[in-house]
């Protein structure tokens, strides 16, 4: 009796937390933490730090899940405007590190492009929600303008990786809002053709002295090393080659936890951040990868389900976009580590080390939970 009343009194803590989302998340976090222990092999400090980052992300998730989705809707425009203002500030006063101007010192150093990953879908969802029921073609034009302004600012920092992710986040909203397929398909076909051409004529266009229009030399270099990682074994191709060896040598069931020779012999750079998947894959093999893929699929499936049954357009668009962003992170990361995509700095959700990305992710899951809670509150 006594116990039950305590449970009852504490029940507000998990009320509204979607159980299936929470369980999937928990599994991912456990997998991530175990892998991180191996990747950081013994350096206790960063493991403690990562656990602290995780705890922070979970708290943010919990807090966000309590926020009624209506409130988010109300602040969407402002979050976007502040985000854009910060990006402009970065362009003017930003700190330069490694030749890129991405950071802003406002007492603490922040990276405003990170805010846009959430602010962008919020803004566009808000915009389409306003126009609900009478979305016209020119509204999509406005939406693209709203999307491309921050993209332009981020791309010229330069930070191609983040620009692509923010673009994806916004583009998902536009697609979910009903952007006609007839406008999407031609672009898709051109992109596909481009990729095919690059693969076929890679040698010619990557020859010495050939410079590509529009792209910076390091971006060209990245594409070229993707086509042939062994062309630059000591430079940009080094880690792709090494992580492919790590994944490939993992085999069906992996070498066992903490036993990844490739990763423990320091051949994998950034092995606890962007390349942590190489550690996981080497130690747990194809079987482990399947588990991870299924976990991500369940996460996305549940997210899309929540979005589909959300009560209003704002929540639907936001929920759908946030879910697909998780997918984009996971897919791009695993594809890049296994040599399918060029190396862009994208972490593996809930597994890679890093406070900022985890915070953004925690916020994203919180939004999904809040959307889900909103639905249930309306039903009852």
């Amino acid at each position: 009796m006594e116990n039950r009343s305590v449970v009852k009194r504490l029940s507000f803590l998990w009320q509204g937390l979607d159980p299936s989302l929470a369980i999937i998340l928990l599994c991912l976090v456990v997998v991530g933490n175990i892998t991180f222990l191996s990747a950081s092999s013994g350096t206790v400090v960063s493991w403690v730090e990562q656990s602290r980052n995780l705890a922070t992300a979970l708290i943010i998730m919990w807090v966000t899940s309590r926020i009624p989705i209506k409130w988010l809707e109300k602040i969407s425009l402002w979050v976007y405007l502040v985000g854009v203002a910060l990006l402009v500030a970065v362009a003017i006063f930003g700190l330069i590190k490694k030749g890129a101007r991405r950071w802003l010192n406002i007492g603490v150093v922040i990276q405003p492009s990170e805010i846009m990953k959430i602010a962008m879908p919020m803004m566009l969802a808000w915009y389409f929600h306003k126009k609900d029921g009478m979305v016209k073609l020119q509204d999509f034009f406005v939406a693209f303008c709203l999307l491309l302004l921050p993209i332009f600012l981020i791309a010229r920092q330069p930070d191609l990786g983040t620009a692509i992710l923010v673009f994806a986040a916004g583009f998902y909203v536009i697609l979910f809002a009903g952007f006609p397929w007839k406008f999407v398909l031609p672009f898709a076909v051109i992109a596909l053709l481009g990729i095919v051409l690059i693969v076929i004529f890679g040698d010619a266009i990557c020859a010495k002295g050939v410079t590509w229009p529009l792209l910076k030399s390091y971006q060209q270099h990245r594409v070229c090393t993707l086509l042939d990682p062994s062309s630059d074994p000591l430079g940009k191709g080094f880690h792709t080659l090494q992580s492919m060896i790590a994944i490939g040598s993992g085999g069906l069931f992996g070498k066992g936890w903490m036993k990844g020779t490739q990763t423990h012999l320091e051949f994998i750079p950034e092995k606890h951040t962007d390349f942590i998947f190489a550690v996981y894959s080497e130690e747990f093999g194809l079987f482990g990868n399947l588990v991870l893929i299924i976990l991500f699929f369940l996460l996305i499936q549940r997210g899309l389900q929540i979005a589909a049954s959300a009560p209003n357009l704002y929540s639907r668009l936001l929920g759908g976009s946030v879910t697909l962003i998780f997918f984009t992170y996971a897919f791009v990361n695993m594809a890049m580590v296994s040599g399918l995509l060029p190396v862009v700095g994208v972490p593996l959700p809930f597994i890679s080390y890093g406070g900022t990305a985890l915070t953004t992710l925690g916020f994203g899951v919180g939004i999904l939970m809040s959307i889900n809670r909103g639905r249930r509150l309306i039903q009852t």
Partner: protein, 638 residues
């Protein structure tokens, strides 16, 4: 309520798109899974071979550190090859502690070696080779090689170490290198991160610095670390599971560091260090037209060779605890009241500010009363009538007490600032201190107690004779002397004159081309020079400079370290470290100045008796090439 706003068609569109998205996700994930299947099942054998038997590692090749050469081509810092016993943790098949213990039975490994090794081991990569012991002799190498099979992961390697052939000579200016510490590594990483070199990818950066074993810790070795170090070479090699190199795949040759050609004349430095014999002090000699620092003396000194492989704890304690402070870089970091050497600058300030004419004089009774305080002159009964020239020559305190009062602190500090007093000279060695140029603002900022913050007029009086709050480095004093010798043209003092590219052998001047010209009247400088010539002809410097064969301008100084509170000075009765400092500044030849110098002999008493003789012998060598008796002849090291 929200539902009412929804149009049915948008909901329908949305749900169909959710379906499409789910399909898209599934297809992508399937592609991923297929990729993993391809790598982990189809190509598994290939990659597992690559991973198991042929691990690719990157090993670095040391670059030769640049030489440090004096202005006449004498090498004062060089490299010598030596055998090191090194461990690559990845190749070791037993606990490292046990390995070290069993190695000790073959080659003696001291506690210091062990400590250094374990310190380097922390945070090091497993494929990195770490020195356990350096400087093996041939016998030790032979003994290890015969038992090498028993120690997988252990190798004898040739490493280059720094060597200072002249031992203590010029130790403070050259500095030394030492084993790279964790802090050094972080600094090196940050330095690479700052550089916009496109080849500095995130994964190459740690590799680029991991092979750096020795870095400059202090002195020129530290200040010119980047130039001296060069660029490491690196090769991609295949190593066995045991960590041994199987085959070289590709390599980039190291680029040797640049050589530094100094402005310093090491032979002059040698002479001056000998002239100090056992005394403490600092001296700086500057070539006035260029700002070349010809000698940079800090006495006593220490042997930088002791630091190369990590200094031994006892010696470190001894050096560190010595009251003589041999590790202290005196010309760069020691500040002293300039004493009477300040007077020529005061006189110049008075002329430039039109507070005095050269002929204006005072009748000196031997003291100056200001309020209730009596400021005394060295000459108890006074110097009689003195004009400006005489005031410099005989070092009349009373003249400057009155002058300081008439000028006021604002005019004094404004003028002295231009001459570099209390300012960073910008010499090319890290760690320079400012000293104190007294001013109202300085005092206010210095004292936290408000009752002490206000500038009293009495404070100004002793400023006039280079006492009171005045506190400058000998470098600043030499620089100020060089500026007046150079007719007001300011040349930044520098120890390094040229940097020589190791490949092209092209030498580039590091000497700053930009100069500042102070607006000082020639006729005013002539008055000061006259007074300073008088010092050595008939004034306080006449004894040490008796019979001098070239025109020389100088000024003696005796700086109180310890306030006597009006009591009679008795050197024997107070402890040695509280005795007065002896100072001297000079430039020669006085008519067309080539050299300027400033020096202090700590706690040695009168400037005329302790400091001026060193200046005389130094200048005799520079001007006439006469080598003083009693100083052993210079011998170039083999």
């Amino acid at each position: 309520m929200a539902r009412q706003n929804d149009s049915y068609s948008s909901l329908e569109t949305f749900q169909s798109r959710i379906q499409i998205a789910l399909w898209f996700v599934m297809i992508c994930l399937f592609i991923l899974f297929f990729r993993f299947f391809w790598l982990q099942v189809v190509k598994h054998t290939k990659y597992s071979t690559a991973s198991e038997s042929n691990r690719i590692a990157i090993i670095t090749t040391q670059s030769q550190r640049g030489l440090i050469i004096d202005r006449n081509g004498i090498v004062i810092a060089r490299n010598f090859p030596s055998y090191s016993l090194e461990i690559t943790p990845a190749g070791v098949n037993q606990p490292i502690e046990e390995l070290v213990t069993s190695l000790n039975t073959v080659i003696k490994i001291s506690n210091k070696d062990r400590q250094n090794f374990y310190r380097s081991l922390q945070g090091a990569k497993k494929t990195e080779s770490i020195a356990l012991r350096n400087f093996l002799n041939d016998e030790e190498v032979a003994r290890f090689m015969s038992r090498r099979y028993a120690f997988p992961g252990v190798e004898v390697q040739v490493r280059y170490f720094r060597e200072y052939p002249y031992q203590e000579l010029g130790a403070h200016l050259i500095g030394y290198t030492g084993r790279v510490s964790q802090k050094d590594r972080e600094k090196l990483l940050a330095e690479l991160e700052e550089s916009s070199d496109e080849t500095n990818s995130d994964e190459l950066r740690p590799i680029k610095i991991k092979g750096i074993q020795q870095v400059g810790k202090i002195g020129l070795e530290q200040s010119y670390e980047k130039e001296l170090r060069g660029t490491l070479g690196y090769s991609q090699v295949e190593i066995t599971a045991g960590g041994r190199v199987v085959r070289n795949l590709s390599s980039t040759a190291p680029i040797a560091g640049s050589n530094l050609s100094l402005a310093v004349d090491i032979k002059l430095q040698y002479l001056m260090e000998h002239l100090y014999s056992k005394r403490r002090g600092a001296a700086v000699v500057i070539e006035v037209s260029t700002g070349d620092v010809l000698a940079f003396v800090s006495m006593p000194t220490y042997n930088p060779n002791a630091f190369i492989d990590g200094i031994d704890a006892d010696l470190w304690k001894k050096l560190n605890d010595s009251p003589e402070k041999p590790l202290f870089n005196r010309p760069l970091r020691g500040t002293y009241p300039p004493g009477s050497t300040f007077k020529p600058f005061m006189a110049l300030a008075a002329l430039e500010g039109k507070f005095r004419t050269p002929e204006q004089g005072i009748s000196d009774p031997g003291y100056f009363k200001f309020g209730n305080t009596t400021f005394r002159d060295d000459a108890v009964n006074g110097h009689g009538f003195v004009n400006m020239r005489q005031s410099i020559a005989v070092s009349c305190d009373t003249y400057y007490y009155i002058l300081a009062r008439d000028m006021g602190i604002n005019a004094i500090s404004a003028f002295m600032k231009d001459l570099g007093f209390g300012q960073i000279s910008g010499i090319d060695i890290n760690g320079e201190v400012r000293g104190i140029l007294p001013s109202k603002e300085w005092k206010k900022a210095y004292y936290s107690d408000p009752s002490k913050q206000a500038w009293g007029e009495g404070d100004t009086i002793s400023i006039g004779i280079g006492q009171g709050y005045n506190s400058y480095t000998i470098l600043q004093l030499a620089q100020a002397t060089a500026i007046i010798a150079n007719q007001g043209v300011v040349m930044r003092p520098h120890l390094v004159k040229m940097i020589e590219d190791p490949i092209t052998h092209q030498k580039s001047l590091t000497v700053p081309s930009e100069t500042t010209r102070l607006n000082i009247k020639k006729e005013n400088l002539a008055v000061i020079t006259d007074g300073m010539i008088g010092v050595n002809q008939s004034g306080t410097g006449r004894v040490p400079f008796a019979g001098v064969k070239y025109p020389v301008a100088g000024k003696t100084g005796t700086a109180q370290v310890f306030s006597l509170g009006g009591k009679q000075y008795n050197a024997g009765a107070i402890s040695e470290f509280k005795r007065d400092h002896a100072l001297y500044i000079a430039f020669a030849p006085a008519d067309k100045p080539k050299y300027a110098l400033a020096l202090v002999v700590e706690n040695a008493g009168f400037g005329a008796t302790a400091a001026a003789p060193i200046a005389r012998q130094t200048l005799d060598y520079l001007m006439l090439n006469t080598w003083p008796e009693g100083v052993p002849a210079w011998k170039t090291a083999p």
